[in-house]
């Protein structure tokens, strides 16, 4: 009888970064001859039969070696449920945002994150192996007592960018282009500091390019923070220069990447930062702030800032946008870095890690 590794996902959205990863891990495990299903607490947009309710999991069949792989990215009752189950556990850690970022803006989200962070050490003693997107994440788990850990990056669906672009949107973006086009992709959340990107754009328009525009792509994790950004944009008179798209489809995202001159990330907390790889894939030069896992993901594939004061960011972006040679060099560096996270390499890392568990 085949071994089984079933994934348990608190919130499963097949199209988002973790959803894409979960599907890729499932396919990889099945490809290795390991039985693998996805159990969820809630899901949106999953195909019929793709995800099952976690409470419906019946347990291992007699004689079957089974591990439960918990996708850890938030606090959830699912963790408590798994802790009570007898099967050995695996954890795939995508990091949980420190609650302090959310408490002033969305206290209830802060409480949920705090709950999640308190659950992490409880999993340490029952986990055979913890997979981590980054060494940054791994260090957090080691600190709270996880004994066996490995860095195995998240799977990114690069192919989806090559399947099509919203040509109408791309045409509009390029036709209306008067100045540099800044882009950031990520949920609107206090830890991602989109307000600081707006601030830097305001400085950039004042000092370098009054026609520059910024697009912030991503659904909201905090209504209060989103509202503050919208009001800030209005107060600075940037209504026509800053676009908050909300959650968009892959063809629209591809259009925004193709129209962008620079990807600016001033996030304070990332467990990996998939959009950096997406920017590299789409040949957009990157300017990013040196925080948490960002330097590890970026490598030499973009410019890493230790100072994110608006003038400093604006000046670096001005150089990137204004110097074609530098822009091309950053794109080439991005491509080189991207190779380290190619699907083949990530798959090989995962296969090795899984074999170390199942033997």
């Amino acid at each position: 009888m085949a071994d089984a590794i079933h994934q348990f996902v608190p919130s499963f959205v097949p199209r988002d970064a973790i959803g894409t990863h979960v599907r890729a891990v499932r396919d990889l495990l099945r490809g290795m001859g390991i039985e693998s299903d996805v159990y969820v607490r809630e899901s949106r947009g999953a195909a019929k039969g793709e995800a099952r309710d976690y409470l419906s999991y019946q347990g291992a069949r007699p004689g079957e070696r089974t591990w439960l792989l918990y996708q850890l990215s938030t606090g959830s009752k699912m963790a408590e449920h798994l802790l009570a189950r007898p099967e050995p556990k695996l954890v795939d850690y995508h990091n949980i945002t420190p609650p302090g970022f959310f408490f002033p803006w969305e206290a209830h989200v802060g409480v949920e994150l705090d709950h999640g962070r308190r659950q992490i050490p409880l999993l340490a003693d029952v986990t055979d192996l913890a997979f981590n997107d980054s060494a940054f994440n791994e260090s957090e788990l080691i600190e709270v007592g996880f004994r066996k850990t490995v860095v195995a990056p998240i799977f990114v669906d690069y192919a989806s960018f090559d399947q099509g672009v919203d040509a109408g949107l791309l045409d509009r973006l390029l036709t209306n282009k008067r100045g540099a086009h800044w882009l950031f992709v990520g949920r609107i959340a206090p830890n991602k500091c989109q307000h600081e990107v707006v601030k830097a754009l305001a400085a950039y328009r004042r000092l370098y390019d009054p026609q520059a525009r910024l697009t912030l792509v991503g659904g909201s994790s905090s209504h209060a923070y989103l509202t503050a950004i919208e009001r800030y944009v209005d107060a600075l008179g940037l209504e026509d220069a800053v676009t908050l798209t909300g959650s968009i489809g892959q063809p629209q995202l591809a259009a925004h990447f193709q129209a962008a001159d620079v990807f600016v990330c001033l996030s304070e907390h990332e467990g990996f930062c998939v959009p950096l790889l997406e920017a590299m894939h789409n040949r957009v030069p990157i300017v990013a702030y040196d925080a948490t896992a960002v330097p590890e993901t970026l490598g030499q594939g973009g410019l890493l800032l230790t100072d994110k004061s608006p003038v400093a960011v604006a000046s670096v972006v001005a150089r990137v946008v204004g110097d074609d040679g530098l822009r091309d060099a950053l794109v080439v560096a991005g491509q080189a870095r991207l190779a380290d996270f190619s699907t083949e390499r990530v798959r090989a890392q995962w296969v090795d890690a899984v074999k170390s568990v199942v033997g």
Binding site: P104, A228, A235, V311, G325, L326, D328, A329, A333
Partner: protein, 328 residues
């Protein structure tokens, strides 16, 4: 540059940093641009993220006592707004009833907090801290140190804060030297500390403290030392420019010494405080000494020692600077 050339990130960023410094020096980049952008965002940030100003927070709370029962009905889907309008109308009587009571309760609470605030104000007026209002920085103390501070901070990366900035002379000199400097002047009692508390940890390239460090009560001086340790970025520099306590006592006219709630600390005390807070290489630089009594030949040993003692007491350095660095 070309795409084939290997990219030296550090060199490139250093070049850009130099360019920014040149532009700041030439006045091309407005000195208060970043502060202005910060202040605008602060208007929309939640109460927890505001500078710890009681009046500002209470005003926000009072504004929040109004409960709007007219929930927004917009939607991206065509029929939903009509549906929402119907729901709003149907439950409106109930929501208004609850909202009126909640508003009354919230108003009563904020009113009570305001009254409490007034009582605390009255108590503060009677406390030594209130006497700080009578004190202010003596520009004559800082003036001889301007060149020293500018040279010490030339080339600093990140923002530099001067508290208490007084007439802005030092900030002007720093900006002219290409430093991203700004100042806070205490129009209220502890504005420098209030401003520092609101800054993110590790956000300052350097901090210059003068004026307030002379006259604030001991507790407030210690708090400034705590904040200096916390708010400097790795590698950041703190410079405390203060009067020597003996010079403070003998200053003429001596109004400040009588009215101020605190006294300047000795230079060695600042060295100790900053070292205790994790700053490295803390160094004391003495100001110039005024001409004292003329020394007598060594043969008159007792007389020579007494003159030396008198010179120390009466003609010691009037001010000093203490410099510390946060470890990188």
């Amino acid at each position: 540059m070309s795409a084939q050339q290997p990219l030296d990130h550090d060199k490139l960023l250093a070049e850009i940093d130099e360019e920014v410094k040149r532009r700041r020096q030439s006045g091309d980049i407005p000195a208060d641009l970043e502060r202005e952008l910060d202040l605008v965002f602060a208007r929309f940030a939640p109460v927890d993220a505001l500078e710890a100003d009681f009046e500002q927070v209470l005003t926000r709370a009072e504004q929040a006592t109004f409960i709007d029962v007219l929930a927004p009905v917009e939607s991206s889907r065509p029929v939903v707004p009509y549906f929402k309008k119907i729901v709003r109308k149907v439950v409106g009587w109930y929501l208004r009833y609850v909202a009126q009571q909640t508003t009354s309760f919230a108003h009563a609470v904020t009113r009570a907090v305001r009254l409490l605030g007034e009582r605390v104000d009255a108590l503060e007026e009677a406390s030594p801290l209130a006497a700080s209002k009578e004190a202010s920085a003596d520009p004559a103390v800082l003036a001889p140190w301007t060149g020293f501070v500018v040279e010490r901070l030339r080339g600093t990366t990140g923002r530099v804060l001067h508290g208490e900035s007084g007439n802005g002379h030092l900030v002007d000199a720093l900006v002219k030297a290409g430093v991203d400097a700004y100042g806070v002047d205490p129009s209220t009692r502890d504005e420098v500390a209030v401003h520092l508390r609101a800054l993110p940890e590790g956000s300052l390239g350097a901090l210059v403290l003068s004026g307030c460090v002379d006259y604030l009560p001991l507790g407030a001086q210690l708090h400034l030392a705590d904040l200096a340790g916390a708010k400097l970025a790795p590698g950041g520099v703190v410079i405390v420019v203060s009067q020597d306590p003996r010079a403070w006592e003998r200053a003429e006219p001596n109004r400040m010494a009588d009215l101020a709630p605190g006294r300047p600390l000795r230079s060695e005390t600042w060295r100790h405080l900053l070292t205790e807070r994790g700053l490295e290489g803390v160094d004391v630089v003495e100001g110039e000494r005024p001409t004292g009594l003329q020394a007598v030949p060594k043969a008159h040993k007792a007389m020579a020692e007494n003159i030396e003692r008198l010179n120390d007491m009466l003609f010691g350095p009037s001010s000093y600077a203490v410099v510390g660095i946060r470890p990188a």
